[in-house]
């Protein structure tokens, strides 16, 4: 007999909660004690546990959506049971919630969200009534490209028998509330730029001078991930300067040699390779803290942050430690190009073990980046600046680059981070080592 | 005639060795009918034939090696290996095929004669057909057109008395083919097709008449095929052995030898020359390469722009017409 899971009371003052992230998918088997989801309350983010065995048949309240205490948020039962009778209550009725991040429409997780970006055929289970999600091919493709989760529209499309068709996705992406399924609520009143747990605001219309912009799914995902990272990962920062003279010279020489192959190395390619080799050299750093356990990484998969008009995306260069520089450059260039054209595949933004973020081309000499969980660190790279410095008692002008390593203190210590940075410096200051 | 005889005998043998595939119709016994009518042709004349065309090809002078190569399906064949036994041709020598559909060559021959007339060329067309083709609609239409348009064409009905397994008496309401021309007020006559000299005389006369007077004619040359309809037919179920034996007594080659008083030694020498020539032709043809499959589409169309015209048809084409791409996975 299928039963509802309702929004639990996780704090004494809690009146409503927001699903931060489902950790299981529709169709997954669940057992007593499994963590099903993370729920944001007025106080903190708590885990939702399963109290019985079964199959998660239907998710009624999606990531990012809120529900009143006691409102149904999911259905668990035996495989194949009919769950068409279940729906979320209109728990999000009134004004903007105490936690301003409450969203009242089918908030789709962004492409970088590992959980549920792909449309239903990739997800294991069928929604209500059994059978796969009915959507036209172009609707699927548009949704996939935009990182929009079609399951929110399942069965409610404008096509025959509720098939999701192109107009449905177009409207949903344009932010129309008319596309909202279970959560029948007025559009968000709170300015979308409000960060996580903001002080309660009255549900007043914003002042005339400002306008409300509905953030894209990608922006929402970035906002959420960055918030989580800052809130949950204990960051500390290590900084050093790297003399890039030899690295720049080697780069020029190599590019001259590779000119007729059409391969062009960037400074970032050298930095990525240096980091990858350093990660290989320092396994003690190359670990991730996930849910109380340490995961030792083998190969180094280095993400490269790419700024887009509407956000940020981090495609991952897999096996960066085993790719020769030339191949790494080709891979990197391709990923960056496709990141900009919006044609990255899901698996290309997952699985990173470290990231590099470079704002040097925008004139930033030094900055500190936010870690992409569950990676142990991220290297923030500034511009190469010719500066006066002392060498052997003499004042000389050297091309110096400031880098900042952010480290997850649960995964690595200060000494670990320092050793990593030292090695990265060594590779870049003796760049021939990058070739062997 | 010796050349044709030997060629056809060896062709039969090569067919049994599986070097020749498909249909293969032999002209053994009909050599005089072929040679006699082609010999008086002028260089500007044209000849078309049915699928029993090996004799025609050799009679116009095509090299035996290239004809055998076509039977073998080789690139050096007279049709590049694309036609086979039934579709021989020799454009330089004005032999325009070799046609597989019974009676199909008739309207086309009429068109060739029409073109000669259109361009005021003083030439004629010899259209060879079997008596089995006289019952198909195209025969009637073609003779009618030739007659109303006064075209320079001679229809040579090579009457070997059997259309596959059906005797001419069973198939034709008027088995005396030469008489059918009367329905079109066209001149018709019959000669003994096994008498090379008689055939030659009649054909010469009628071709001249066609060239000079622009009038069509029908020439029936009666003959007999010693073999079956094709190599796949023994020719026995529908013919009595006595009949075949009797016909062999009128072998056109023997007849000609007797008429011309050629001595046995000369015949033997000629035979041996011919045998050697055919042997060499077979050896050469067997060694020749097959056509390249990459050229499969080269001759479907011939307009200078055809590739450009078809360039936008490739999208979404069936497998094999569109190798190697799958746009929908990109």
């Amino acid at each position: 007999m299928a039963e509802e899971i309702v929004m639990p009371r996780l704090s004494d003052t809690m009146e409503r909660g927001t699903i931060a992230r489902w950790l299981v998918h529709e169709g997954d088997a669940v057992h007593e004690g499994d963590v099903l989801a993370e729920i944001e309350t007025d106080k903190a983010t708590m885990e939702l546990n399963a109290y019985s065995d079964g199959v998660l048949l239907r998710i009624l309240v999606q990531d990012g959506e809120a529900a009143e205490l006691g409102a149904p948020i999911a259905v668990v039962g035996a495989e194949g049971e009919d769950v068409s009778g279940f729906s979320a209550a209109s728990g999000n009725g009134d004004a903007a919630a105490a936690d301003g991040a409450g969203e009242t429409e089918a908030a789709p997780p962004a492409a970088s969200e590992a959980v549920a970006a792909a449309p239903a055929p990739d997800a294991p289970a069928p929604p209500a009534g059994g059978g796969t999600l009915k959507a036209s091919p172009v609707a699927r493709r548009m949704a996939s490209d935009a990182g929009f989760d079609l399951r929110g529209l399942a069965g409610k499309g404008s096509g025959p028998d509720g098939r999701i068709v192109r107009v449905d996705v177009e409207r949903a992406l344009a932010g129309g509330a008319s596309a909202a399924p279970a959560a029948a609520a007025p559009p968000a009143q709170a300015p979308a730029s409000a960060p996580a747990p903001a002080p309660a605001r009255a549900a007043a219309a914003p002042p005339e001078a400002d306008t409300v912009i509905e953030p894209s799914p990608m922006l929402k995902a970035v906002a959420r991930r960055m918030s989580e990272s800052k809130a949950q990962v204990p960051h500390f920062y290590l900084q050093c300067e790297i003399d890039m003279a030899k690295a720049l010279a080697l780069r020029e020489e190599l590019n001259a040699e590779l000119a007729d192959e059409g391969v062009k190395l960037t400074v970032n390619d050298l930095i990525v390779r240096a980091c990858a080799l350093a990660l290989r050299d320092h396994p003690q750093f190359h670990r991730s803290w996930i849910d109380g356990k340490l995961y030792q990484h083998g190969a180094a998969h280095v993400g490269v942050a790419v700024a887009l008009d509407e956000g940020l995306i981090v495609p991952v260069i897999r096996n960066a430690d085993s790719l020769p520089l030339r191949e790494l450059a080709v891979v990197a260039r391709d990923l960056v190009a496709r990141a900009r054209s919006g044609s990255l595949r899901q698996q290309e933004i997952e699985g990173g073990t470290f990231s590099v973020s470079n704002l040097g081309m925008l004139g930033i000499t030094s900055f500190q980046a936010i870690i992409n969980p569950p990676e142990p660190g991220i290297l923030a790279v500034g511009s190469v600046v010719e500066r006066a410095t002392g060498v052997g008692g003499q004042v000389v002008v050297r091309p110096l680059m400031t880098v900042n390593l952010s480290v997850d203190h649960r995964a690595a210590s200060g000494a670990d981070g320092a050793r990593l940075l030292q090695t990265v410096t060594r590779y870049l200051e003796h760049p021939l080592l990058l070739l062997v | 005639m010796l050349l044709i005889r030997r060629f056809e005998e060896r062709t039969e043998e090569q067919y049994t060795r599986a070097r020749i595939g498909g249909y293969c119709h032999l002209a053994i016994g009909e050599e005089a009918a072929n040679v006699g009518s082609i010999d008086p042709m002028e260089p500007g004349d044209y000849v078309l034939a049915s699928y029993r065309d090996h004799g025609t090809a050799l009679a116009v002078g095509s090299e035996p090696h290239r004809v055998m190569a076509e039977l073998f399906g080789k690139a050096t064949g007279v049709a590049g290996g694309y036609g086979g036994s039934m579709h021989l041709l020799d454009v330089e020598r004005h032999f325009l095929g070799g046609w597989g559909i019974v009676g199909g060559q008739l309207p086309i021959a009429v068109g060739v004669a029409l073109a000669l007339d259109y361009e005021s060329k003083p030439n004629a067309v010899l259209c060879q057909l079997g008596e089995g083709a006289t019952n198909i609609g195209a025969f009637h239409e073609s003779l009618n057109l030739a007659a109303i348009w006064n075209l320079p064409i001679v229809f040579q009905v090579i009457n070997n008395r059997y259309g596959m397994g059906t005797s001419v008496e069973m198939a034709s309401a008027e088995p005396e083919q030469w008489k059918r021309a009367a329905a079109y007020r066209m001149h018709g006559e019959r000669v003994d097709g096994n008498d090379l000299l008689a055939v030659r005389e009649a054909a010469d006369r009628l071709l001249r008449r066609a060239r000079d007077e622009r009038r069509p004619a029908l020439l029936e040359t009666t003959t007999y095929r010693f073999r079956g309809h094709s190599v796949a037919d023994a020719g026995k179920v529908y013919r009595a052995p006595e009949e075949v034996a009797e016909a062999k007594k009128h072998d056109p080659i023997d007849r000609f030898v007797a008429q011309m008083g050629i001595d046995a030694e000369t015949v033997a020498r000629l035979r041996s020359e011919v045998n050697a020539e055919i042997d060499a032709a077979i050896r050469q043809a067997a060694a020749d390469p097959a056509p390249d499959p990459a050229g499969l589409y080269d001759n479907v169309y011939g307009d200078a722009n055809w590739r450009e015209q078809f360039s936008r048809m490739e999208r979404g084409g069936p497998f094999g017409e569109r190798e190697g791409t799958r746009a929908w996975r990109a």
């Binding site: 096509g159 | 060739v112 239409e141 011939g302 307009d303 015209q309 078809f310 048809m313």
Partner: protein
């Protein structure tokens, strides 16, 4: 130039090509002194005489075959078959001979022949005189098949067909003969290339593909749907073999919805061919399966209401379009 009828456009093309190249000549029933059963060749016999405009008896197999033979010798015959229904009598000469000659003879001789013939129905001409059989020939390698829908295209395509070195079936339409359109100046030597479709109306919501008279019907349907804020893109194929699949696919990628309309029977028809190609190239771009609409799959009846029910009229095309649009959430079902 002022507008002329489709019929006149054909006549002008024939006139100009006859004047341009002595190898061009016409053959057909009643094309001479009778001036053509549909008056397409009016005046040409008087102008060019019997050598260039050759009347034939009723013997399609015979005179189409003669056309093949003459073409093999380098002439450029333009053979008229009174209606496409009669081409069946000459089927052997078209499919077994004209289409095969070049390949069978290893490329050593070709057939620069044009066969002109009207297809279509609508005047109670009954079953044997109301067919649209062009797909049988579009199916055949070795042939080219074109089907213009406007006087301009008829003019330009007939010139291209006559100058083409391969056998071309030039498909006209009885109703189209009276349609008006502008023609360019003769001195322009205007031709339309074989193998190129044309987008005759742009739109973003639905692609309708058609050829010959059906294009005009599709345009009418497009105007009707425009009232409902649906913008239909109409693609006029103009050429069935070679088929300009690129243009169709680009259009469907844009609109994500496709309907193919034809006068002939849809089963094994133009729509069947395009649906296969569209499904291959636009697999992820479709909002709904490709829809096809064609004539009723029954021999054409005589009685007027029955005939109307059998034709691919505007209402039938519109209904199919509406159904498709409804499936895509753009319209309520008609």
């Amino acid at each position: 130039m002022a507008g002329v009828t489709y019929r006149e456009a054909l006549r002008r093309a024939l006139d100009e090509e006859l004047a341009r190249d002595d190898k061009v000549f016409l053959m057909g029933e009643e094309i001479g002194r009778f001036e053509g059963s549909y008056k397409v060749t009016a005046g040409l016999y008087a102008k060019y005489g019997p050598r260039r405009v050759r009347e034939t008896p009723i013997a399609e197999e015979g005179f189409v075959g003669a056309g093949v033979g003459a073409a093999m010798l380098g002439l450029r015959p333009v053979v008229e078959i009174m209606t496409i229904n009669f081409i069946l009598v000459a089927m052997d000469m078209v499919v077994n001979h004209a289409a095969k000659v070049r390949q069978m003879f290893g490329g050593k001789v070709g057939v620069p022949l044009v066969i002109r013939t009207p297809a279509g129905a609508g005047a109670q001409l009954t079953a044997q005189h109301s067919q649209s059989l062009e797909v049988m020939f579009a199916h055949t390698p070795g042939l080219k098949v074109v089907a213009p829908s406007t006087p301009l295209d008829a003019y330009g395509l007939l010139k291209s067909a006559i100058r083409d070195d391969d056998p071309v079936l030039f498909v006209e339409n009885l109703v189209l003969y009276n349609v008006n359109g502008a023609l360019p100046e003769p001195g322009d030597d205007f031709t339309v290339p074989i193998g190129r479709a044309q987008v005759v109306r742009e739109g973003r919501d639905l692609t309708i593909v058609a050829h010959s008279y059906t294009v005009r019907r599709a345009l009418t349907v497009a105007d009707r749907l425009s009232q409902h804020d649906i913008e239909v893109e109409v693609v006029d194929l103009r050429s069935l073999r070679p088929l300009d699949a690129e243009t169709v696919i680009e259009s469907v990628k844009k609109t994500s919805r496709a309907l193919v309309a034809e006068e002939g029977w849809a089963t094994y028809g133009v729509g069947a061919e395009l649906a296969a190609r569209i499904s291959r190239e636009c697999f992820d771009d479709l909002d709904a399966p490709v829809e096809r609409v064609g004539g009723a799959e029954a021999p054409m009846p005589y009685s007027k209401p029955l005939e109307l029910a059998a034709l691919t009229l505007e209402d039938k095309i519109e209904k199919a379009a509406r159904g498709l649009l409804a499936d895509c959430g753009l319209l309520a079902e008609a």
